[in-house]
């Protein structure tokens, strides 16, 4: 175990022998854009199926829901971006705070939904059955979105695997919640908000548990 400068020299020699040109990692924003292509593809399919009218009508009636949707989109983009940035060694850990403003908007505007009965008494409120559908929707879409992020980040070098995995979970859950806006037949109430929070927490926790391991192998 004592210092052996020769073994370090031998290692450098061996690494030099095995040197081949490498393709540099693309900038974080470009890789984020690549991931957003998949989200956009899902969005296009859902829009083709449901049309934009129900969503726009609902947003016009309840602007706080529109803000929540925009907050979810910002959270998805910024969390994915932060995850890609943290995949490069030497980047500031403060990148992890990037999704915070979007998440505050998302959570804050959704929270207004709890006051639904005062703001817009006429809107439909989700029952327990519909809430379960929301849960499955968010988790179901989060799986391929998380998987793609993990694959893309394994090519990078996330030195903080668990933090990166949490960001992956947040990005995919927020993106799924954004997609849910397209086909959400009802407005957020306390039960619905709770379901969304549960789904997001489950996706983030699953990623932290599994993703951390998947990423640290890279």
């Amino acid at each position: 175990m004592m210092s052996d400068p020769r073994s370090v020299e031998a290692l450098i020699d061996r690494l030099g022998t095995g040197l081949v040109p490498v393709r540099r990692l693309l900038p974080a924003w470009l890789r984020t854009a690549g991931w957003l292509l998949l989200v956009a593809a899902f969005a296009v399919v859902l829009l083709m199926h449901y049309g934009a009218q129900p969503m726009l009508r609902r947003w016009a009636a309840t602007p706080d829901l529109a803000w929540a949707g925009i907050g979810a989109v910002i959270t998805a983009v910024s969390a994915a971006w932060a995850a890609f940035a943290l995949g490069v060694p030497g980047r500031n850990a403060a990148w992890a705070w990037l999704p915070l403003p979007g998440a505050l908007l998302w959570i804050g505007a959704s929270g207004l939904g709890c006051l639904r009965t005062w703001i817009a008494p006429g809107t439909a409120i989700a029952g327990a059955h519909q809430s379960a559908d929301c849960l499955l929707f968010i988790i179901g879409f989060s799986i391929p979105l998380s998987a793609l992020l993990v694959v893309l980040l394994r090519r990078a070098c996330p030195l903080r695997p668990v933090l990166t995995a949490v960001l992956i979970g947040l990005a995919s859950a927020a993106a799924s919640a954004s997609l849910l806006e397209i086909c959400h037949a009802f407005d957020s109430a306390a039960t619905d908000l709770l379901t969304h929070a549960l789904a997001v927490a489950a996706v983030v926790a699953l990623n932290a548990a599994m993703g951390g391991r998947l990423l640290s192998k890279a």
């Binding site: 210092s3 400068p5 073994s7 020699d13 040109p21 957003l36 983009v77 910024s78 490069v88 500031n92």
Partner: protein, 221 residues
């Protein structure tokens, strides 16, 4: 539509953030470069950029130059001098594997130090785990009955040897009585028959022998 809007909005945010990050990292290098044409940090960054293109000479110079930086980072993390070389090797292997993640527009030293710090922490953790396991093993060994058995066996062996020596030194009559009655566990009648002595004499000899032995062992300090 809102996706596109927010994406472009965040692109501005990113360039702002990366400007802030690069200011943080490159200002010292720029200051040192004011006197010299190229600082060591800039030289290493250029070597790494060349190594990414497959330049072996630049790569080997870079790795040789990196060893001191890695050792310094590991020492700052609290790695013991004996284990610095392990961290150096682990870090060099990681550097080789993830060399495509280095962005030549940024500081090589910051990139390398982040990897070295991580490997140093890994080394400390695995050493901590190993040490705690070894500590528990020592503890178990202390408590394990085998330890007592081993020393006890040696001790009783020594005691038996000393007893045999003492018996051998007894006068012939007494020794005969101990051997027949004590060691071979014969009855008085059997012993009398075998030795040709009467039972009374055997009893007397045994008592005398025991007295002699008792005095010998208890008299000893």
């Amino acid at each position: 539509m809102s996706q596109v809007l927010t994406a472009t909005g965040l692109m501005g945010l990113d360039s702002g953030l990366s400007l802030w990050a690069s200011l943080d990292q490159t200002v010292p290098a720029d200051l040192t470069a004011a006197n010299d044409s190229e600082s060591p940090g800039q030289r290493r960054a250029a070597w790494m950029a060349a190594a990414q293109g497959g330049d072996r000479r630049a790569y080997e110079k870079l790795l040789g130059d990196s060893v001191a930086l890695i050792r310094a980072a590991a020492r700052r993390q609290g790695v013991a001098p004996d284990h610095l070389d392990d961290v150096v090797q682990e870090t060099l292997i990681t550097v080789h594997r993830v060399r495509h993640t280095y962005d030549p527009a940024r500081s090589y030293d910051a990139w390398l130090t982040a990897i070295a710090n991580r490997r140093a922490i890994d080394a400390l953790r695995s050493r901590g785990r190993r040490d705690s396991r070894e500590l528990q093993d020592d503890f178990a060994l202390d408590r394990h009955p085998d330890a007592d058995d081993a020393s006890a066996a040696t001790e009783s062996e020594q005691r038996a040897r000393r007893l045999h020596e003492a018996i051998a030194e007894l006068p012939p009559g007494q020794r005969e009585a101990v051997e027949q009655l004590g060691l071979k566990e014969r009855s008085l009648d059997e012993a009398a028959e075998l030795t040709g002595r009467n039972t009374g004499a055997l009893k007397v000899n045994l008592h005398r022998a025991l007295k002699t032995l008792r005095e010998r062992f208890h008299g000893e300090p």
